[in-house]
Symmetry: C2
Subunit: 252 residues, 2 copies
């Protein structure tokens, strides 16, 4: 099933606000979901603080191991926005002012008090970079080599992802089929294991939950072959139903 | 301000369901917030798939660099729960059945169909481990060396954290004071930078938002000295107000 190329991406989430617990991250799930549709697997995420050497280390560890590397956060106008400098350092490139980005900012701030030092920071890019245009807000993301530097504010991140949709080469999307039921996973662990073992190219995840005082679980069957994912999910549902557990397609 | 010891922890989130985007992680923020209260800084998070070598690699990279290492996920009864095996391998220890955990499971399942192979998996620990008792559900977490293996289901994770509260040695908690206002961060970037530079031991984060068509920002002043955090936040608020931006204590 996997004799073709699998495309992978990693994500570096940059921000003290995530590590302090102040902000609930939304970008991991958002980017993971978007990547799946592009046929790219998210293989690892690292969350690091606003410290240059820590960003450089994470970027260098992950960029060579993956087809693509995304970062979120740290591309705004303030002193704690150091992603561009860190990535430039990781890539051994100088930081320059991108003329097109500067023009965009000049036009945007023309009626909003004009460019200042902080705002001009948002036109800084590693030398050789292209801009990722987004329609949600004026600020562009940055593409350099196999890196994509995105904003940290989730709806702006979404606008930048939108600008990238269909632009990245990927493989076959991983398809998930979910079934759920009021079944304690510990009663059916052997059945899950055997079903996965007998079906090459399929991974089955088991996700327990508690609802109205009873335990249940959702089982997610993943495969790059949509038909296989569906048929294995049907088989698993039939086995569980014959063992006395009514199952709900799509999960609970 | 930081001539005393700073205690750090890292977190390895284990789970294909986070990397596929199926599940929105809640444990990073939950554990970060809990650690702050214990006087411990969350210094890095890695999210890795349910693949033994990837877990081993992340655990070994982070456990020696930090005072504590937490993991979430992969300690249930099913075939995709491989955290115990991976951690045992990382530490060079065999996996054993913990007698106390086995007893707990025997009692719990006495009226629920009895122990089976899957359920007995939850009594497996790296040799030398202690249990982390939690009152929310029967299943214990696992403590071994400086590692804490917690459940992935957030309310069970919370129960295990509750069982650990006050047990870990830490330093002074990092105190945050937030102020917010309808101020574009790009207009005040220089003021933020200078305020941080002038106050040793203080870090200032700037977090923009959009509300009813207008831009605003929250500024978070962090310090291990609660009085300093408050006085710098007051100073910053006064400076911003004198520049014409009314500020809201506590943020927006």
């Amino acid at each position: 099933m996997t004799d073709h190329r699998i495309w992978t991406a990693a994500l570096v989430v940059i921000g003290d606000e995530i590590l302090s617990g102040r902000t609930q991250d939304r970008n991991i799930a958002q980017i993971a979901t978007w990547l799946n549709v592009q046929g790219i697997r998210l293989s690892e995420v690292r969350v690091v603080p606003d410290v240059e050497e820590r960003i450089v280390e994470a970027v260098n560890a992950l960029r060579t191991q993956n087809d693509y590397l995304f970062t979120t956060g740290g591309i705004g106008p303030t002193h704690d926005d150091i992603t561009v400098d860190a990535v430039a350092k990781a890539l051994g490139r100088p930081v320059i002012i991108h003329p097109e980005a500067r023009g965009m900012l000049e036009r945007y701030y023309e009626t909003r008090g004009g460019l200042n030092e902080g705002r001009l920071r948002m036109a800084r890019v590693p030398d050789g970079a292209e801009l990722i245009i987004n329609r949600v807000s004026g600020a562009p993301g940055i593409k350099i080599e196999n890196l994509f530097l995105l904003a940290g504010v989730p709806h702006i991140t979404a606008g930048m992802l939108d600008g990238l949709t269909g632009e990245l080469e990927g493989g076959r999307p991983l398809v998930s089929v979910t079934i759920g039921g009021m079944v304690p996973e510990s009663e059916v662990a052997e059945l899950l294991r055997e079903t996965e073992r007998m079906n090459d190219g399929v991974a089955i995840g088991s996700y327990p939950f508690f609802k109205e005082g009873r335990v249940g679980a959702n089982f997610v069957v993943r495969s790059e072959d949509a038909e296989q994912a569906q048929s294995v999910a049907n088989l698993l549902a039939a086995s569980l139903e014959s063992a006395g557990y009514p199952m709900v397609p799509g999960g609970i």
